[in-house]
Amino acid sequence: MLYREAGQFKTHYAADSAILPIRQDRIAMAALLVVAFVAVPLLASPYLFSAILIPCLILALAALGLNLLTGFAGQLSLGAAAFMAVGAFASYNFVLRVPGIPLLAAFACGGLMAAAVGIVFGLPSLRIRGFYLAVATLAAQFFIIWCLTKFGWFTNYSSSGVITAQKLVILGYTFDTPRAKYLLVLGIVAVMALAAKNMTRGNVGRQWMAVRDMDVAAEVIGIRPMRAKLLAFAVSSFYCGVAGALYAYAYLGTVEPEAYSLDLSLRILFMIIIGGVGTILGAFLGSAFIVILPIVLNMLVGFLDNTLHLNVASSVASNLELMVFGGLIIFFLIVEPHGLARLWQIAKEKLRLWPFPH
């Protein structure tokens, strides 16, 4: 009844290619942005900011990057966290070694550095595909982390390998409260998500999808697979690199190689699978799911412990968490293999017809 496009006529081509063609969608998106930019900062507690909202957004950005590569260009990668590490360390070194560089420029440079590294590790994709490529990207994961731990120059010869990130100062304003950090992260993520959405709707995105669906056929119709694939690696690594820099500066507060382990790569891959491969929305839904799930499980175990007096040992609790996490992922894959974004789509279809059955 409410959600229906009847009566909304398109009178020019610009309206035809709008991101949100239905008025109700535009209103909902505007409302969402108002909530995210105004209501949440006013209402949320510092814990909510630093434990849930900030990591959710940052990992959503990384998942977005991986989704561009895996979901749109069809190149499976297990090295997302390594590119995040490149972004974080490059940003750190740019701020450290280039005096007076604006922080946002350093983040962008970090992203570009990650993109360059991404192109290098994307080169094998020209020859190999599928799981062979996935395993090959593991080489990036192990090699990059090894480099960062081994060569002191990257960590400014810090003895522990863990370095404190510089203060987040942009145009003289210091982002030191969780709220300010959240707004900064939100702004960057919103802009980059919009850019990603537009990229996937345009020429570049269609090239990627053609290469994903069948690269030989794509080549026949005049798409250069090499350029498309390497561009996908570069853009994806750029997103991951910026996400990695934010992860270090706005979330952890430290820059350390251990934070970007294979585990993080797998978690980011989970996000896009659970959220929905080849969708922008999926990256956000998946990231929210993967970040919130362990917290909810933890709270649940604690709650059961307190109310039922089971005295669950902490080791049992953490193993239980691991089991439920793994089990839920399998469950979700079985129930909805196309991810949460697909559920949202189905809900929208239902909403259009509501309250009528057909």
Binding site: Y132, L320, E321, L333
Partner: protein, 297 residues
């Protein structure tokens, strides 16, 4: 020169251990097209279960069939609960499901048997064989030699099983073409159940050998990561590829660590096999023994 051979032989023997893990992957990939990331967790699960049963005072020779039964049941359960509902899904979905499975198995194993590091004594000492050392001056670990022997036995019995039994032939038929196999009346789901059972058995053997060597601990799950470069070197579908790939990876990583390591600060064992496999793939994209893929529009 004898030092070189010592490193080489040590590498080759540890390569056999990698081959064992890779074998578990290959079996499942061949028969069902699933890239089973949980193989490492199955190895961990098997070793931990075995040690756990031993700790309850059960005889070694009783614990072995008991663990085997557990592993086969586990394999069957995985096939029934996780993979059967996911038939016909894209490979990446199946792959993610096995990652979820590996989380689940790690949690389950540690919950059942505790997370502390334990030793596993198979009655084999990790000491140099005196006879060979006297004759050639090269130290060869007795343990590694026996482990290699067990691996060879396992591989050859699997090869016989594949080539000379009815079930083995059915397995190869399924591996070649699922639909054609179904069409000639091979029960696909039974075959998959058998494959997962066999993978459980391979995981047990691997778990015992690796557990006896490095101790039964969480790090066993990372053994799977060692097997991945072996897989891409040898080809996902090839049993001989897993063996040869394992030998190459084992030997080259030890040689690289000894001869190249000092120049770059050491610790290159972790990534060297990957880079080697990567360089190799640039020349032969389908691995050493993988099937050549012809692409058509």
């Amino acid at each position: 020169m004898s030092f070189f051979f010592e490193v080489l032989i040590g590498g080759l023997l540890s390569g056999v251990m990698y081959s064992l893990v890779a074998l578990g992957f290959v079996l499942i990939y061949k028969a069902s097209g699933v890239f089973n990331f949980a193989q490492g967790s199955m190895v961990f699960f098997a070793a931990l279960t075995f040690v756990g049963i031993l700790e309850h005072g059960v005889n070694f020779w009783l614990a072995l069939p008991a663990t085997l039964a557990v592993m086969v049941v586990l394999g069957l359960a995985i096939e029934r609960v996780v993979l059967r509902p996911l038939v016909n899904q894209p490979q990446i979905t199946l792959f993610m499901a096995t990652i979820g499975l590996s989380f689940f198995l790690e949690g389950l194993a540690q919950m059942l048997w505790g997370a502390n590091v334990r030793g596993l004594d198979l009655g084999l000492q990790d000491e140099p064989l005196q006879a060979i050392a006297d004759a050639t001056g090269i130290n060869v670990s007795k343990f590694d030699l026996v482990a290699a022997g067990i691996a060879a036995l396992l591989v050859s019995s699997l090869a016989l099983f594949f080539s000379h039994t009815r079930i083995g032939r059915a397995l190869r038929a399924v591996a070649d073409d699922h639909q054609a196999a179904l069409a000639v009346g091979i029960p696909l789901q039974q075959i998959w159940a058998i494959v997962w059972g066999v993978a459980g058995f391979v995981a047990l053997v691997t778990g015992l050998l690796w557990g006896a060597r490095n101790g039964v601990q969480f790090a066993l799950t990372f053994v799977a990561l060692k097997a991945l470069p072996v897989l891409i070197l040898g080809g996902f579908e090839s049993v001989p590829g897993a063996i040869v790939g394992g030998l190459i990876v084992g030997a080259s990583e030890k040689l690289a660590e000894v001869y190249l390591g000092p120049y770059v600060g050491g610790g290159i064992e972790g990534w060297f096999p990957y880079v080697l496999a990567l360089a190799f793939l640039l020349i032969r994209p389908e691995g050493l023994f993988g099937e050549k893929i012809i692409r058509r529009v």
